[in-house]
Amino acid sequence: MSLADDAHSRARDLDRLIEDQIPKIRLSSSNELLSELRAYMDRQDRTLGVGNNVISQLKRVSDPSGLAQINLGVPSLDRTSSAFVLRSGSRLTFGISVRDEGRNAALIAYRFQVQFPEWHSPNYLRFDLIPRQHEVPLREARCHLHPGARDMRIPIPVLSPLEVLDRIFFVIEPQIRR
């Protein structure tokens, strides 16, 4: 096999590992998960002293098949849509897709996007869990970090929604300074 073939084979193996991790992330039902996220975001907002209206920013919708979507703000890069504003001026949005299964929910997909202030490079950063395997797993692993630079995507382990938020609030946000 060529070097590239080997790389593609390893990427498929890695995706299988990530695939196995996803069911181990057990979430509360979408209704309860929204409450957990609201309480978390509200406490972060009060700690930062920023004054976001978390209640109006968090929305949930469910469909007849049992899937549900929880959104915070509007994940857009236009800087005018609804977003949770961090102390640095960065704008946080997310969308989480889950399947309700009784008192719990299974994780299907998510996108957490931090859009940094205009003076900051890179412009944004995304944590993505895509809903199924990409046709080229080497280019885009099932769970990856998009560093806001062209089409680069770095594989990461599957984090729960609160674990992603922990990294954004405690690891990334404190680093955003002029």
Partner: protein, 192 residues
């Protein structure tokens, strides 16, 4: 009838946090209300244990024991709409037996405020102005919000809802979180 403030469970939990854990509040809720929602919000927002206790069948000793075991969590008392005037009087006379270090939330209907005021004026003084009508938290996306979000997705990807459903049926959609959201918004989560 005075006007009471309408608040979702999350904000009522915030009030407990602001007022201190030994607050007494009244929450006016409909008959089919499940106290589990407020229990959950209190646990998450105030970060203290919370539980619900029924006042029925009425037994002062049992209620006192329930409020004092333990005494420092947040308790939501339900079943108060079934109390008689005599029951309220017993509670009022023995109000010191109900005092505890944790907050107490009395869950009752609007109609039960009358008996509370008439038969238990001392208990009523514990509550003061902390009477809230429980409302929905508004977290369920409205039809307008859903339509707006679908328009944003259509603009961002240059696709119509019909094209997204067709391509999902053909298993020909990009593996993107936005398309999972799009299908859920269209009520077609079965295609994710």
């Amino acid at each position: 009838m005075p006007e009471f403030s309408s608040r979702p469970a999350f904000e009522i939990a915030r009030r407990i946090e602001l007022r201190g854990t030994n607050a007494w509040l009244v929450v006016i809720a409909g008959g089919d209300w499940n106290p589990g929602e407020l229990v959950r919000e209190v646990r998450l927002v105030v970060d203290v244990p919370a539980r619900s206790v029924s006042a029925m069948p009425f037994d002062l000793g049992a209620l006192r024991n329930a409020l004092r075991t333990p005494t420092d969590d947040v308790v939501i008392v339900t079943g108060l709409d079934q109390l008689t005037g005599d029951n309220w009087t017993v509670l009022d006379v023995n109000r010191s037996a109900l005092e505890r270090t944790g907050a107490v939330i009395l869950s009752l209907s609007l109609a039960t405020l009358g008996p509370l005021n008439a038969w238990a004026p001392n208990l009523r003084s514990f509550i003061g102005g902390s009477i809230f009508i429980l409302t929905d938290d508004g977290s369920v996306m409205s039809d307008d919000e859903r339509r707006l979000r679908l328009e944003e997705l259509a603009l961002a990807y240059g696709l119509t809802d019909e094209e997204v459903i067709r391509r999902a049926s053909e298993k020909n959609l990009p593996a993107e979180p936005d398309f999972a959201e799009w299908l859920i918004l269209l009520g077609r989560g079965d295609l994710v």
